[in-house]
């Protein structure tokens, strides 16, 4: 039975689903977003942080493209820190602790107020397509059907979810929320391959059972830097909460080792593959047995709750062992667990079934974003949800898909890795995955991606005008300082002496001085009388661009070479069975993934350089024959 029609449906209202739904609705597309529980919109079931190393970059990029995450965290954070501030600008990473409940409420409000967008609490059980595999509609648990042109899957960890806490197993999603047990089968009926991943979360401990005097307090930054390019920095200066640092002890490790046989991960009960970058405390103790202690951070879950998150000690050990283990940590000797640590297993899809637009290669109108694609993390999910939502909108509007290249943003690296590489564990963003890190900084995400956001219908004309103005000012100021010959005055000598910079004679430009690591654009302002009055953001760009020019130019050169290589296209009609002398494994993989270019082919795991050589020779011979 059909009650009402929509143009697009988004399945799931986590971090991916919210961005997808908003991207669709903001493009004027009549959209419905389904969630198994109205109280779990933009839920943060694991850590209370948004951002952090490389994830902070993603949030900035989401903002540049016109997504929502940055706005919501700017309104709901309770502590904020710029990580790696002592290191180079490319690895500066903003991380905020959210008030989880507020974050969820705030995002729900944004969804509720969005025109063209309806929210529905229901479990989607089936996706319909026509004979040519075009999406035509969906069905929910009650039997009601909805006709739609596009579906975006943002199911997170809910597909056939199973939680494990020692010997205790429950068939639920996070926090006892209902799992989605029917949709996997519908996906498989559409020819979609499914595999199983796992992840985990530490315990939550009640505040009055913690002895904070035995821990080191950790403070937020003053002043706070907002995530969103459009947030006024003055609006985010507020009182912040403390978090605390403690550590595991030899006793902790002893408790874990003694009880390893009761961990479902080591007893073989868990089938899913867990992430190496986010190991459980059992994993850390076993794999890094030479380390006598691991750091543990305690972070509050919010202002309206008593619960504290134990960052660094996720586990799937049984409850009694967990209690014993946590109580060996200084400050937690008398701790009471409110919610146990647990591991969760779920169905997800190998990402290589997707195009770079996050549409399925073989099901037209079906898009997929977030943890279902094999990623982990709120920010990775939101970034994919945004791109999947944008491209579902573009499809409905009959416009070209919008994709982001590896050289344009972390989002590009994330999606390219997910859809071309074989993944055997949940994928987390890391700055080291970005080849062009010096250019892909969090401070210039707007300069890199606003144009795409405008194309995607999520950035206004006014925002674009502001961007053009900013670009112009940066360019002009860099030109100006490179033309100034610095006069060696006493004032300059004093500034340089204070900075420990070696003295200069005449004939040095302002630009050359700024380039010195110990000096900066701002430090030299007293000896630059004609300097225009520029905003902090613009001054920062001028400074970074000048300082890192040599490195950035080297990267730019690499990018242009890379783009050239990208142009080598693999003909779509290639039949890999005819490419003899290529290893069977490689041939199967190529036929399976069908890379569009040589570069993509070379990035597939298990494809060797000599396979690529053979492939290139074959393509050449194809060309010369035709």
């Amino acid at each position: 039975m059909i009650i009402e029609n929509y143009e697009a449906a988004v399945i799931g209202a986590g971090h991916a689903g919210c961005e997808a739904a908003l991207a669709l609705a903001r493009n004027g597309i009549k959209t419905i977003v389904f969630t198994v529980s109205i109280n779990s919109i933009a839920l943060m079931p694991c850590n209370p942080n948004i951002g952090g190393s490389s994830k902070g970059h993603l949030v900035r990029e989401i903002d540049a493209l016109g997504g929502e995450m940055a706005h919501v965290i700017d309104r709901t954070f309770i502590q904020s820190k710029m990580l790696n501030k002592s290191k180079g600008p490319a690895v500066h990473s903003l991380r905020a602790q959210a008030d989880k409940a507020e974050y969820s409420k705030e995002m729900r409000r944004v969804l509720e107020r969005q025109e063209n967008l309806d929210i529905k609490q229901a479990e989607v059980t089936e996706i319909f397509t026509d004979d040519e595999k075009n999406v035509t509609g969906i069905k929910i648990r009650t039997g009601i059907e909805y006709k739609v042109k596009a579906v975006v899957l943002c199911t997170g960890v809910y597909l056939k979810a199973r939680c494990l806490c020692g010997e205790a197993i429950t068939y639920t999603g996070p926090n006892g929320l209902q799992a989605a047990n029917s949709l996997s089968e519908s996906l498989m009926n559409l020819g979609i391959k499914i595999h199983r991943f796992k992840t985990g979360t530490p315990a939550r401990i009640s505040e009055d059972s913690i002895d904070f005097s035995k821990m080191v307090p950790q403070y937020g930054d003053v002043p706070v830097v907002p995530f969103s390019f459009s947030t006024d920095p003055e609006d985010v200066q507020k009182e912040q909460v403390k978090s605390y640092l403690t550590h595991t002890t030899e006793k902790t490790h002893e408790v874990i080792r003694r009880n390893l046989d009761r961990s479902p991960m080591y007893s073989g009960v868990i089938e899913g593959v867990g992430p190496r970058y986010c190991p459980s405390i059992e994993d850390k103790v076993v794999k890094f047995s030479d380390k006598e202690s691991h750091q543990v951070f305690l972070e509050p879950e919010g202002l309206s709750t008593d619960e504290w998150y134990i960052d660094g000690m996720s586990s799937s050990l049984p409850e009694d062992v967990q209690t014993e283990m946590y109580r060996t940590v200084p400050g937690l000797e008398n701790c009471r667990i409110v919610r146990n640590a647990y591991a969760i297993e779920y169905d997800c899809i190998p990402g290589k079934q997707l195009k770079h637009s996050l549409e399925f290669k073989d099901v037209h109108g079906l898009f997929s974003g977030g943890q279902i694609n094999g990623s982990s993390g709120y920010e990775e999910a939101a970034a994919q949800g945004l791109i999947a939502g944008i491209n579902a909108a573009m499809m409905i509007l009959s416009k070209e898909a919008i994709t982001i290249d590896r050289s344009e943003g972390y989002i590009g690296v994330l999606i390219d890795d997910l859809v071309t590489k074989e993944s055997s564990e949940p994928y987390r963003m890391m700055t080291s995955r970005a080849e062009y890190r010096l250019m892909l900084r969090q401070d210039n995400a707007d300069l890199r991606l606003r144009r795409k956001g405008f194309e995607a219908g999520l950035i206004s004309k006014e925002q674009m005008d502001a961007l053009f103005e900013k670009e112009e000012s940066i360019k002009n100021e860099i030109e100006r300082v490179s033309g100034i010959n610095v006069k060696v005055t006493d004032e300059l000598k004093e500034i340089m002496k204070r900075a420990g910079s070696t003295a200069i004679s005449t004939g040095v430009t302002m630009e050359e001085l700024i380039r010195r690591p110990e000096l900066s654009y701002d430090m030299l302002s007293p000896v630059d009388p004609n300097r225009p009055d520029l905003s902090k953001e613009i001054r920062e760009q001028v400074n970074i661009n000048i300082k890192y020019r040599g490195y950035i130019e080297r990267e730019e050169r690499q990018i242009s070479q890379y783009k050239k290589a990208l142009e080598q296209i693999i003909p779509v009609n290639i039949n890999y069975d005819n490419v003899s002398n290529i290893r069977i494994e490689a041939r199967q993989k190529l036929a399976d993934i069908r890379p569009e270019t040589i570069v993509q082919a070379s990035m597939i795991q298990g494809i060797s350089p000599s396979d690529i050589q053979v492939l290139m020779v074959y393509i050449k011979s194809m060309g010369s024959r035709s």
């Binding site: 690895v91 530490p202 970058y277 750091q295 110990e518 003899s580 060797s608 350089p609 000599s610 053979v614």
Partner: protein, 461 residues
């Protein structure tokens, strides 16, 4: 793949009248061809189709009913052969003339003559060897003396490869540490002590590379020879000098028809060091060479040269022409030969530096006086280091270019540390060096780093 249907053949042993020679056939038809032309003494088929791989068969090569040679034939079935295809090797005994007859017979039966290096290319494309190995084989094919052959062999056994792998190992470990610290600043710290450790590592690898390159320069001369120009004004004795060299070394004079370096017309050997004499034809034919080929041409030849032998007349005062030639040579390794010491010496060794700052030898080319001294001077100019066979050398341009790039990237890391640049730029150049070294052994970098970070450093929550 390319020429899939092609079967190729060539004489695999060096040309020359040695007793035994091997002809190799590779491709789908290799076994069929061998089976057709090789029979037993009684003329019976050897049934090579059902022969085991790596089996040897005694027989005779027949052209129709006539026996051309008595041979041993070895069967290699794909993919376990050198090229990865079916391969037949026929060991003939009849010398060069017979080898040529057998080769044409094989061609008549459906194989085509292999292009230079084609066996190796097939081996590479079929995944039988990596790039370094393939290039080393190419080097073997083109190597002309025993030394360079031994060096090529050591590449094959992988000592260069091991060295490079070891360097890459160090680089990726440090990169993974830095990346872990950037990714998880709350757990890993890059302090001053680490920076100085990193500086030691990169400078260490950098100096290893430059040592290898330095030694390799000598090796490259040993392998490829020293491009040499004999310069001097007309009638100073250039052709006599050439004839002196050739006369003494006639046995190893090689002419190189069809070589790409068309200006080289003679190769001579001085105690194992080969001199490629540039444009010696011009010297022989023209009595007033400077005028006939022009200053520009001379200049061009001198620019290409590794060594200039500059002949001057010791019996006369130097003139304008001598000074002009000297000015062209200035920057080049040069030995001044003061010829005609059989006449009265007017311009001796002590005055050479008026013209050019180069070592000089007194000679009478006509009387064959001073030749030994000249040879010693040439040797000492090019073989500066003791070369041991076991050591590792870079012998081709691609490898030495990649090596230089890697060293440059590593020196940039040191530079960044010294200048106090931020830590995140270190890895740009570290990974660049890693990639360059990877090119040398045909390995790429995808995923290496992430794997390292996870396996060596305990990350995250």
């Amino acid at each position: 793949m390319i020429n899939n249907e092609d079967t190729i053949t060539a004489i695999a042993t060096p040309r020359g009248n040695s007793g035994v020679g091997i002809i190799r056939i590779s491709g789908d038809k290799a076994i069929a061809i061998a089976d057709k032309i090789i029979r037993s003494r009684q003329g019976k088929s050897l049934d090579l189709f059902s022969a085991d791989t790596y089996s040897a068969h005694y027989g005779f090569v027949y052209r129709e009913d006539k026996i051309l040679d008595e041979i041993i034939c070895i069967v290699y079935k794909k993919p376990g052969s050198y090229t990865g295809e079916d391969v037949i090797e026929i060991c003939c005994h009849g010398g060069m003339y017979v080898l040529d007859l057998v080769l044409s017979l094989i061609q008549e039966n459906g194989a085509r003559l292999a292009e230079p290096g084609e066996f190796t290319r097939r081996a590479f494309l079929n995944g039988r060897m990596d790039l370094t190995q393939a290039e080393s084989v190419m080097d073997i094919i083109s190597s002309e003396n025993e030394f360079s052959r031994a060096n090529s062999m050591s590449h094959l056994t992988g000592s260069l490869r091991n060295k490079i792998s070891e360097m890459r190992e160090k680089i990726i470990h440090e990169t993974a540490f830095i990346e872990s610290a950037l990714d998880d600043p709350e757990h890993y710290e890059i302090d001053e002590e680490y920076k100085s450790h990193l500086n030691d590592i990169v400078s260490g690898i950098g100096s290893e590379i430059s040592d290898i390159l330095k030694r390799s320069a000598d090796v490259i001369y040993l392998k490829n020879g020293v491009d040499t120009v004999i310069a001097g004004k007309p009638n100073v004795g250039k052709s006599s000098l050439l004839n002196l060299f050739l006369g003494y070394d006639r046995a190893i004079v090689t002419s190189l028809p069809g070589t790409t370096r068309d200006v080289i017309s003679e190769r001579i050997s001085i105690e194992g060091l080969v001199l490629n004499l540039i444009d010696t034809a011009g010297i022989r034919n023209s009595s007033d060479e400077i005028e006939s080929i022009g200053i520009e041409k001379t200049k061009e030849h001198i620019e290409k040269a590794d060594l200039v032998l500059f002949l001057m007349d010791a019996s006369k005062e130097p003139d304008e022409e001598d000074r002009l030639i000297a000015s062209l040579i200035k920057e080049k390794p040069c030995i001044v030969i003061l010829n005609k010491t059989d006449l009265d010496i007017r311009f001796g060794e002590d005055r050479v530096e008026e013209i050019i700052k180069s070592p000089a030898v007194l000679m009478s080319v006509k009387e064959r006086i001073g030749e030994k001294e000249l040879r010693e001077k040439i040797q000492s100019l090019f073989i500066k280091n003791e070369i041991k066979d076991k050591d590792i050398y870079i012998t081709n341009k691609r490898q030495s270019d990649s090596f230089k790039e890697a060293a440059l990237s590593l020196s940039r890391v040191s530079g960044s540390i010294k200048q106090g640049m931020s830590e995140d730029v270190y890895t740009v150049d570290l990974m660049d060096a890693y990639a360059r070294l990877g090119e040398m052994i045909g390995e790429d970098i995808s995923d290496d780093l992430a794997d390292r970070i996870f396996s060596e450093f305990c990350m995250g929550k």
